[in-house]
């Protein structure tokens, strides 16, 4: 008998007599739980539940009208992998990610170095660099889309007036020219964040390291290669991995400029998933799941890398 009583008070499920004392006890035992509970619930509702729904949908057979006709098993995945465009979409996703992240990192290294120097107007230029970051990516993409427009675009007008081309070009109409332009825009919007990350990294490198190097006779590029770069590694890695995830998942630039078209010739997996929505929601969900798995891998790399940073 006494055992059961003590059990109920232990659980704190509302045994009446000892209530006064246990009120505090339960809360104490719960520790920080009540405080983080809202956040946990929020995550459960806006993150975990959608993921569950996403995975569930990828195994459903849904008619074009949107009517759920029952389970599809793994058919939708099979269908997805058999799409003629699938291999090409994956290839371009890799090229897109590698090129955009690579170019962004290289340019940012240079820019960060530049902004780390003392020169007149540095504050103004530093502010100016924020502009592409502060503007909405979709807005930037649409802005470029119209600049590149075949009939109304300012670029065609300019090039025709200068006599570089004699007929206006449809830059975004074919993959051959659309990809480079979209990559350009992607680099353009990724530069500010990356540059600032690297700039912050540069500013944490103590000055005496350079002085010591100078005394030892290191000059110019050698200093950069052997002193700056290794010390910049933590900032570089953070910038690199965050860019990797961002660019891989990038939707607004491509959607805003070509919608992945013609067909799926300028689509990455994220855009392709959106295109599939209009033909088959189940298949689109399957693409999402594949995409999600790839992001998880990238995130795991990120965690690994950041731990590696700390250990160092």
């Amino acid at each position: 008998m006494s055992a059961t009583v003590s059990k109920t008070t232990d659980r704190g499920s509302g045994g009446r007599p000892p209530r006064r004392r246990s009120g505090r006890g339960i809360l104490a035992r719960l520790g920080p739980l009540p405080w983080i509970a809202p956040a946990v619930l929020l995550i459960a509702v806006v993150v975990l539940w959608p993921i569950y729904e996403l995975i569930r949908t990828s195994f459903l057979k849904i008619s074009t009208a949107g009517f759920v006709r029952g389970s599809a098993g793994t058919d939708k995945y099979k269908q997805l992998f058999e799409e003629t465009d699938f291999a090409q979409v994956i290839t371009w996703t890799v090229i897109w990610t590698v090129v955009v992240v690579g170019v962004t990192m290289l340019l940012s290294l240079g820019l960060a170095q530049l902004f780390n120097q003392n020169f007149p107007g540095r504050t103004v230029t530093r502010w100016a660099l924020i502009a592409p970051w502060a503007a909405s990516v979709l807005m930037t993409a649409i802005g470029f889309k119209w600049m590149l427009d075949r009939t109304a675009g300012v670029l065609n007008t300019l090039m025709m007036d200068l006599g570089i081309i004699d007929q206006s070009k449809d830059w975004l109409g074919q993959p051959g020219t659309a990809w480079p332009w979209m990559m350009f825009v992607a680099v353009f919007v990724s530069l500010p964040f990356t540059t600032y990350t690297l700039l912050a990294g540069l500013q944490t490198i103590p000055h005496d390291v350079y002085e010591a190097a100078k005394i030892d006779g290191a000059v110019g590029f050698k200093t950069y290669l052997h002193i700056t770069l290794p010390l910049l590694r933590p900032a570089f890695l953070v910038g690199f991995v965050i860019n990797l995830i961002n660019v891989f998942n990038s939707f607004p630039i491509i959607w805003g400029m070509t919608k992945g078209g013609p067909d799926s010739d300028t689509a990455t997996t994220t855009v392709y998933m959106f295109q599939l929505k209009s033909t088959d929601i189940g298949e689109s969900a399957a693409m999402s799941v594949v995409n999600f798995a790839m992001v998880v891998v990238l995130v795991l790399i990120f965690l690994k890398v950041s731990r590696w940073n700390k250990e160092d």
Binding site: P34, W35, P38, T64, F67, K259, P262, D263, S264, S278
Partner: protein, 423 residues
């Protein structure tokens, strides 16, 4: 404090769960709620604020409510780009509208979601429908779709550009199209000689017009898909070799939408293209001196051009009474309402009485060439329950047929057959 926090979050979760539960409740059942409120979802035909379809429908709703005490209409107007996805989401969550006005109906028939036409339209109203359109509303012999507006396609040409290029009259055959386009190009009479919009907006329309010119089409007599038929492959190969490659069209037809081409034509930058009545007003606004002619086919002008209709349909699982839906639809199909809508957007009527009124009114003179060919017009396989799925595949990749005809059409055929098998 703590306890309150927990309580609040508990309420939050309960609400979230409750909200999601709401979605799943309706569905099933075979007909009609008991509400006197009709929920209408309709597409937006307007291209600016002043002619948004919301204005039209709210006015109809207000007059309907005034004439029928106790009844109400909830209007939701969605733009064309979003309407398919939003309706899909409504169906998926079991939250269907009572009445829907959009581009296609047959995919909803496949899942048995719609009322038969005779259930929600009085015989008097049903009799008013022009027979060819009424017939297009049938799926497997039973009528579900109620035509709402229609259009037919003709060749638009810019008279001034033709004169400058020395083209005496509108082309009647494909070869004449090529010849005229070449002249326009040689004389630099226009930026683009021939407009070929095969982008996602309406690739299925432009493709079918060209296929009809070679006695092709999407289906054969028995209704089987024939997208990669010899005639169709031939059609696109001709287009590729004779118009696209020599640069007689705009560059990249597969990524050009009809809207862009219409704008180019209205700006006087385009020699000729296939268009529908909306272009009349656009050309007028742009002060373009245009002419219309039958669409050229391989050996002569098309006898039956492409006819397109948009549809009205009523959902069985809506919350409104069947009688309320019927009352509303009969009201919406009254002559004055239909006429007003057609006039507002330069579209063609689907009821005989409106067609007669238009024929006798000089105000609609410019529409006459289009209404004249409506009788013999050919439609998409609208009644086929897989058509909507196939149509979205064609919208997405059909334009590439002018780049790689055989491969693209084979691919589409495969998808169409898979869709047909899936039914």
């Amino acid at each position: 404090m703590n306890r309150r926090l927990i309580a609040t979050s508990a309420v939050g979760v309960a609400m979230a769960l409750g909200l999601t539960a709401c979605g799943g409740e309706s569905g099933g059942g075979d007909g009609g709620g008991d509400s006197k409120t009709v929920k209408l979802v309709a597409a937006d035909y307007g291209d600016k604020k002043s002619n948004a379809s919301k204005i039209y429908w709210e006015d109809v709703a207000k007059r309907f409510e005034a004439a029928n005490k106790g009844y109400q209409v909830d209007v939701e107007v969605i733009n064309w780009n979003d309407i398919d996805n939003k309706v899909k989401a409504m169906i998926q969550s079991g939250n269907v509208p009572d009445v829907l006005q959009t581009g296609g109906y047959a995919d909803k028939v496949a899942d048995d979601l719609l009322y038969k036409r005779s259930d929600v339209l009085s015989p008097a109203t049903e009799k008013k429908l022009i027979p060819s359109f009424a017939k297009a509303g049938e799926s497997d012999g039973t009528a579900y779709g109620i035509p709402f507006v229609s259009s037919t396609r003709l060749l638009f040409y810019n008279k001034e550009i033709f004169k400058k290029a020395g083209v005496a009259e509108a082309p009647k055959t494909w070869d004449e199209v090529k010849e005229a386009a070449q002249k326009i190009k040689d004389k630099k009479a226009a930026d683009t000689p021939y407009g070929l919009p095969l982008g996602p907006e309406e690739a299925q329309g432009e493709s079918m017009i060209w296929e009809l010119g070679n006695n092709g089409g999407y289906t054969d007599e028995s209704g089987k898909y024939t997208i990669n038929s010899k005639a169709n492959v031939e059609t696109f190969s001709w287009l590729k070799d004779n118009l696209v490659k020599p640069g007689l069209t705009q560059p990249n037809p597969a990524s050009t939408d009809r809207k862009t081409m219409f704008e180019d034509f209205a700006a006087g930058k385009l020699g000729m293209l296939n268009g529908h009545p909306t272009l009349i007003q656009m050309a007028k606004d742009g002060k373009v001196d245009y002419g219309v002619a039958p669409i050229p086919g391989k050996t002569g002008p098309l006898e039956s051009t492409l006819g397109v209709a948009d549809w009205m349909m009523a959902f069985k699982d809506g919350k409104a009474k069947k009688a309320a839906v019927k009352k509303f639809l009969d009201f919406a199909y009254a002559k004055e309402n239909m006429l007003k809508f057609d006039e507002m957007y330069h579209l063609m009527p689907v009821t005989q009485e409106v067609a007669d009124t238009m024929a006798s009114d000089p105000k609609f003179k410019t529409l006459k060439p289009f209404t004249d060919v409506a009788g013999g017009a050919k439609f998409y396989p609208l009644g086929d329950t897989t058509w909507d799925a196939v149509s979205s595949e064609i919208k997405k990749s059909g334009g590439k047929a002018v780049v790689d005809p055989k491969q693209t059409l084979d691919d589409l055929q495969k998808k169409a057959e898979a869709a047909a098998e899936d039914q």
